[in-house]
């Protein structure tokens, strides 16, 4: 459906221009900066609502070919010399991720109201520009445009972590930048190769290319390097704990909630449609890596002493479900004589729901940590104990989000994990059994964290003097909580939104390319 108003362009450029405007205000007017930033972010959220409401998810006229049915498309010739176009479009999964982005950015700006005192306008400008670039990643239908947004995101995040972060922020941010830059530049070579063969940068034209097994393997690994670092998958996840720990609260929230999802989105958009045969050959590799992330990294989370590091490792474990869910359909649809499309559908749908849910839950958990860090200025678990005595409301929120992190039914964390486990059972039961270990391990590290921090005796004087959350923080945490609860109890709006796109991705897997 083409609307007369360029919805996607406005979603991308409104925050970017708003952020640039903020830069001109100057660092000596924090109040104006905060309200202006909030206004721009809220306006972007409002603009993203028509994206959801006008999305026609009934794509029942789905032809059995590789062409993607994208809506809200915008197409302008950009650089004719290399056939690169400014081509935007959104399907169900893009819309879901874009709405998640706009929602989270508003909450991040609310969260940063009192925490950031230095160069407020630059901090908020960086987040707004980052928001626009992330929406651009989800909306881009031209591979060069996708790559540009993908890479351009690194600079604002680099600045955010490096200027407002913790003691080891410089190490963390340079590691983050070089690691992700390293991954994505191999993808660039792959994309250039595809462009030279397809004659255009359209992702759909890449999907229609007929590629040999060898070409597909190289391309698969090029994409894998880029997206595996982004997700992050074990063993290229080591940048994440450092980046999360050292980033300011808002930076961690955006990093966990949105930027990690870009890796999963990339797998769905690039690896699966363009290199299905190679993806099939190496699907088991990805499944094994995902399981290692789920189980092993879960154990690593268990022994952490820093709260943010614990939640960071838990993020890696949860993202393991995402990659698992994305690559299971390849085992289900192509290896067997009777392709189990329902299980494949559950796998991808589960991965997507897990993405949205994890965005909300980990965003919320990092915000919680931010709330108590603002008061105590320490993230070490040993400095806490019995916080629930002095901050009951906060404790309520934190317990709720922890339950969601464990995957308690009724919260959004359960929906995605359950779907993926069902799908993995249909593929190979041992995968399901290993994946289901997350229910135990996840509960272990999360509940232990909650117990040590919130429950028990008040540990020291600092905890005794804590005051509970103020209305602003309550607003932010409630917004996350409503999202988590809603999605957990009634995931239908989300699953129906993404239904058509997921079906199309799964159907496309039945076709071989070599």
């Amino acid at each position: 459906m083409m609307t007369s108003w360029p919805l996607l362009s406005s979603l991308i450029w409104l925050p970017i221009l708003g952020g640039s405007l903020l830069l001109l205000i100057g660092a000596d007017r924090p109040k104006l900066s905060r309200w202006l930033a909030l206004g721009v972010a809220f306006a972007t959220l409002l603009v993203s609502i028509p994206l959801y409401s006008h999305y026609a998810s009934d794509v029942s006229v789905l032809p059995y070919n590789m062409r993607s049915i994208m809506q809200f498309t915008e197409m302008h010739v950009w650089i004719a010399a290399i056939h690169a176009n400014y081509h935007l479009g959104a399907d169900g999964i893009s819309v879901a991720l874009i709405v998640l982005t706009t929602f989270t950015t508003v909450l991040v700006i609310i969260g940063a109201w009192q925490a950031i005192e230095k160069n407020v306008n630059q901090y908020l400008a960086a987040f707004l520009v980052l928001e626009g670039l992330m929406i651009g990643v989800f909306a881009a239908m031209d591979a060069l445009l996708f790559y540009i947004f993908f890479e351009a995101m690194l600079i604002p995040m680099f600045i955010i972590i490096g200027v407002w972060g913790g003691p080891r922020r410089v190490y963390a941010t340079i590691k983050f930048f070089l690691y992700t830059f390293f991954g994505s530049i191999f993808m660039l070579v792959g994309l250039i190769y595809l462009y030279l063969h397809a004659g255009s940068w359209e992702i759909s034209s890449f999907a229609q290319l007929s590629l040999s097994e060898r070409e597909q393997t190289w391309l698969f690994f090029a994409f894998l390097i880029a997206f595996a670092v982004k997700v992050p998958m074990w063993p290229v996840h080591t940048w994440l704990p450092d980046a999360h720990v050292e980033a300011p609260t808002g930076g961690s929230v955006i990093l966990a909630a949105i930027m990690l999802k870009i890796g999963g989105y990339g797998f769905l958009r690039f690896s699966l449609p363009i290199t299905p045969d190679a993806s099939e050959s190496y699907a088991m590799l990805i499944v094994v890596l995902s399981l290692i992330a789920i189980v092993y990294v879960g154990f690593v989370a268990l022994v952490q002493q820093d709260m943010k590091k614990l939640i960071a490792y838990s993020s890696v474990a949860h993202m393991g479900f995402v990659t698992l869910g994305i690559f299971l359909p390849l085992l289900l649809m192509r290896n067997s004589a009777t392709p189990n499309s329902l299980a494949a559908y559950l796998g991808v749908q589960g991965a997507m729901v897990q993405m949205i849910s994890h965005g909300l839950v980990s965003g919320a958990m990092f915000s919680c940590v931010g709330v108590i860090y603002d008061r105590m200025h320490t993230r070490m678990i040993k400095d806490y104990g019995g916080v629930a005595n002095t901050m009951p409301w906060f404790a309520a929120f934190m317990v709720f989000f922890s339950m969601a992190n464990c995957g308690l039914p009724g919260t959004s964390g359960f929906v995605g994990e359950f779907m993926v486990i069902l799908s993995s059972f249909a593929a190979k039961p041992w995968i399901a059994m290993l994946a289901a270990l997350t229910l135990i391990i996840g509960a272990a590290y999360t509940l232990w964290l909650v117990k040590r921090v919130l429950f028990g005796e008040i540990a020291n004087d600092h905890v005794a003097k804590l005051h509970d959350i103020n209305p602003r923080e309550a607003l932010m945490l409630s917004a996350f909580a409503i999202g988590v609860l809603l999605l957990g109890v009634w995931p239908a709006p989300l699953t129906e939104l993404m239904d058509g796109s997921v079906k199309q991705i799964v159907d496309a897997l039945t076709l071989a390319k070599a």
């Binding site: 830069l23 100057g26 660092a27 950009w78 650089i79 004719a80 010399a81 290399i82 056939h83 160069n119 630059q122 060069l144 790559y147 540009i148 947004f149 890479e151 351009a152 690194l154 600079i155 680099f158 600045i159 490096g162 200027v163 922020r169 410089v170 941010t173 340079i174 930048f177 070089l178 830059f181 390293f182 530049i185 191999f186 660039l188 070579v189 250039i192 190769y193 462009y195 030279l196």
Partner: protein, 479 residues
Amino acid sequence: MQLMLPEVYLLGALCVLLLLDAFLTQERRGITHWLSIGILLVTGVLVLMGQDIRPDALTAFNGMYIHDSMAAVLKVFILGVTIAVFLFSREYLVARKLFNGEFYTLCSFAALGAMLLVSAGNLVMVYLGLELLTLSSYALVGLNRDSGLSSEAAIKYFVLGALASGLLLYGMSMIYGATGTLDLGKIHQAIADSNGAGHVLLSFGLVFLVVGIAFKFGAAPFHMWLPDVYQGAPTAVTAFIGSAPKLAAFGMAYRLLEGAMGNMGPHWQQMLSVLAVASLAVGNIAAIAQTNLKRMLAYSTISHIGFLLLGLINGTPAGYSAAMFYVISYSVMATAAFGMIMLLARPGFEAEEIDDFKGLNQRNPWFALMMLLTMASLAGIPPLFGFFAKLLVLKSVIDAGSLWLAIVAIVFAIVGAYYYLRVIKVMYFDTPLDATPLRMPHDFSFRLALSLNAVALLAVGLYWGPLIDWCNRAFHVVV
């Protein structure tokens, strides 16, 4: 003769300027500044008009001067970069008592030499343009007579440059001996007709030619002069020799290697690919260890030249177009970077060390942002100009089938990202050594020009279609 109007005009105007400057008092030296900018502007307009009126490739003076699109593009940017350097340098030179007419006239003569070089149709013309460019540059590097560092840099540049020019001439003489003609087009024809006769002599000549070109570019292993000259010369001069001669060197490389020795393509392409990889390696790795920003930029220049040479090794029009796009983007970025160094400099204090940029964001957020754009563009981060230049070169390399070369290039690009990030890190994450607000140059045109230069890196990055179309037309690339 009419074809040469821009050069003739420039020569005449410079002679008048030289005379005029001799009679000006120091207080009136600003006249030289603005007059030289005006002269270069008029020359640029003449180049564009000439291109407009006569878009085809034509020759003058019995084939010695070639008037074509490629020359026009390069000339426009040579002149543009020189004007930018003039705008950036004034206050810097005044503070160091170097504000004299010689700087302007020498730079302009160097620009004239560069223009002749890119339009050369004859071996002698190549040498003429080259020598005019380099002799002016030698004098410019040594402009600060009282500085031992500058004088040392000038001597190094002169000796090594003279050696390289000598080798170039030697190569030219061998080629003349083998083909019997000095005209580039006729040499091309003669090699095609020779069918392998005189091959040894031609190969030797080619080797010396490549050595001369590599020296001019600053490609490893002929790069040793670059860091010392860049660091030793006054920053205003570094800004000039970091940008305009690279454009000229590209033109020279194209004229000599493709124009004359086109049929020996596989030979020089192989040589250039070795030089390219060596430059990428040496430039990127050595730059990591540098604490002096000018020296770091010098080594990074070497790495950029490596990338540029990758565009030349394919021998396809798309490759040359990508390489020209790259050299144009590089010259604009380099001017901005050195301009920023001049911005921070104060009388008696050079802002050459990376540490001098510490905490620039706190002292002056706008120019910290400008430096961020410049560094990110040099690193090749989208959506800035530098990224697209790298994209086009990578495209032409992959198109030619050298996938491994592309991977080597990008691995070194990642290594390269580190030292540019370090400058950004220092500006934004560190506390300043001196927390006073930045003493802004009074010169508004300087600040405006520098801001425009850096913002252009973003603007052109977002919309570079016209520029690549212009480059493509110059090489008749069919899209």
